[in-house]
């Protein structure tokens, strides 16, 4: 392999990591506070994709702008979902079966709503940037993948700022660390959980809208991404955004470079092998490694 080919693959892996991180932040934020594995995440991503599509088709709104507009819309949708459905399921400091089944059911409902409204036709968004690339020497970078990567980095920065600089962020961190202690010091858990669920769904909607610029989609959209999100958040440590970014990078690097020696058909097997290894060897994810190093220092 030439240096140029290696660089091309490295950039492709980085851009893929951006896609993976963008779609995983929403699941992580919900799990961190509520200890709920949001199986409906793919359903909201699918709705986000159609949201960008409809805005583009009907009003000519650029899908990147559509992804920004998706944030408040899906935030409200998420908060509504929380009050209508999620708050009624029993919560614990570990994920519970009722919440898992509720959100799995919600995903099926969203999928079937999608089939009813849009049918099973594959849709795509074609913009002047769809096929455009940025060339830097031997490296070719897809413009839209670069945008998604930039959004992933920006999201990580914004999330960290929200978590460290705002009252809501401090509440989230407190509840993530110890829910009971948080309640004792006066944190409104119901309100924080509602806002967190809204934030998670807002990220799912935004991710779906962004991914709609890269992939064709139908109401089943998001399933392969959801499987990978599991791997990423387990690798990342379930509750850490920077861990998720590292998890996304690890998975993207492994998938991209193992293809050179392993047939591409084994990509899913590689993802699941990583999931099993992470759960058995590093159940706290890569974030626990950072914590251990921090404590050792």
């Amino acid at each position: 392999m030439t240096a140029g080919e290696f660089l091309n693959l490295l950039v492709a892996a980085l851009l893929l990591a951006g896609i993976y991180a963008t779609m995983s932040f929403g699941m992580t934020v919900i799990y961190g506070v509520m200890k709920i594995i949001n199986l409906a995440h793919a359903g909201f991503m699918m709705l986000g994709a159609y949201f960008a599509y409809e805005l583009y088709q009907r009003l000519g709104v650029d899908p990147i702008l559509g992804s920004v507009l998706a944030i408040p819309v899906f935030f409200v949708l998420g908060v509504a979902c929380y009050f209508l459905l999620v708050r009624w399921v029993p919560t614990s400091d570990q994920p519970t079966l009722p919440s898992l089944l509720l959100l799995f059911g919600l995903w099926l409902v969203l999928q079937n709503v999608g089939y009813s409204v849009w049918g099973n036709t594959d849709r795509s968004i074609l913009t002047p940037f769809t096929l455009s690339t940025i060339r830097i020497g031997p490296v070719s970078i897809s413009t839209l993948r670069a945008v998604v990567f930039a959004v992933a980095v920006l999201s990580l920065v914004v999330l960290q700022l929200v978590l460290t600089r705002t009252w809501f962020g401090r509440s989230v961190r407190a509840l993530t660390q110890n829910k009971l202690a948080g309640q004792i010091v006066g944190i409104d858990t119901q309100r924080t959980a509602a806002l967190t669920f809204g934030l998670g769904i807002a990220f799912a909607g935004m991710a779906g809208a962004l991914l709609a610029t890269l992939y064709s989609f139908n109401p089943d959209f998001g399933r392969p991404f959801l499987l990978r999100s599991f791997v990423i958040i387990v690798l990342g440590g379930l509750e850490s955004f920077s861990g998720v970014a590292v998890g996304a990078l690890i998975l993207a690097l492994v998938e991209t470079f193992t293809i050179l020696v392993v047939p591409a058909g084994y990509q899913v097997a590689i993802s699941f092998a990583l999931l099993v290894v992470a759960l058995l060897v590093l159940p706290g994810g890569v974030a626990s490694l950072f914590e251990r190093r921090g404590r050792a220092a």
Binding site: F104, N120, L214, Y215, L227, R228
Partner: protein, 446 residues
Amino acid sequence: MSTQRARPRPLRRLGLVALATGLLVALTACGGGAPSGSSGATGSSGSSGAAPQGGAAQGGGAAGGGEVIKIGVVLPTSGREAKPGTYQWEGIQLAIKQVNDKGGVSVGGKKMKIEPVFYDDESDQAKSASLVERAMTADKVVAVIGGYSTALGQAESVMPDRYQVPWITPGAAASTIFSQGYQWTFGTLTPVSELGYTTGKFLGWLVDQGKLQKGLKIAMVLENTDHGVDYGNGIEQWLKENPGYFTVVFKENFELGAPDFSGLLQKVKNAGADIFLSDAHLQDYITMHRQYVQAGLYHQMVSYGARGPEKDARDALGDAVTGIFAGIWWSKNLPYPQVKKFIEDYKAAYGREPDSWYAATAYDAVRALVTAIEQAGSLDKTAIRDALRKVELKDSLLPGQVLKFEANGQLKAPFVIVQNKPGGKVDIVYPADAATGEVIAPIPKK
């Protein structure tokens, strides 16, 4: 205390993640099956529920006949396969109406009308199989037409031999259905291996025409499904029978619905092939070709198997799809008079032209069954099955115009090769006697 608390956490987490993954995998198994020929049709879902439609037969003879012939139709008109299933149901209804309008089917000198008993399987494999069972047992139909998509067709295909009722699938073509030695199973969709074989034949014809050089190198990337395997086998079969034309320098499977093909396309690039042949579902075709263009790849000929001319792909990729060729089961541009009449009748009945091949194979399935019943001269199921084995429709809508089942029960008609042309045009380019335009070979380098 702390050790007791610490130990179960990873295990509990492992259990819940495993459960969540299990739910996902279960959903994938239920609904994620690869349709054999779905190309993203449009329209709205049809009737729902498992209740049969079409009314009860009057009388009820020994074989479910009486004054009418009851035919079971099991197709998805709701769920993920609703659109193609609806189109197939429309083709069936049109054929039945035309037969009934002419007085019905001649059985032993007596004219009998056909009464379809329709069941919507809701794109669900388990429901699909149980509805076929119900049609063959409780509702006592003389034959069943059903099974759109490989997944649903496979589920249904175990019933015909069990209950000894003829079954014709107009929408499932995987070799796994027709290699089981079933005696009551028939299909009007040509096997996918034939798609690969026709692709090889077409490329060989281009060499013979002097449009491509002999000895070019082929790179093949195939989705890891029965569809992909059959396609690859078909190409290799032709290459084996015609040595010297091409050499396969790269062949690899890929994951269905993969989010990224950068690594795979890098390997394709490294292989230094002249022709790029992929077998992919529509979503993968769009994702892969987008990255193919972005990576600056070029091959003299490019194909994604049965994918290529879809409007969705052009909507997603614009002129980047120009030059791509595809093998398809049927085209409304086929220059046969019966195809033109079918399109006129279909438009009169439904107010639009048939979308893709779905209605055509279903329409011909009814015609084959009617011919078999007339030749059998009775509603005895064994006699109908035996007649189906000998049926030869010489005015078929399908390429080649002849519908005749092979020994395994499956039709083996030629595929039509179409090619995307500039400005959104799609031409039939092979076989030559059906061509509507000149083939572009090799594709010009941009």
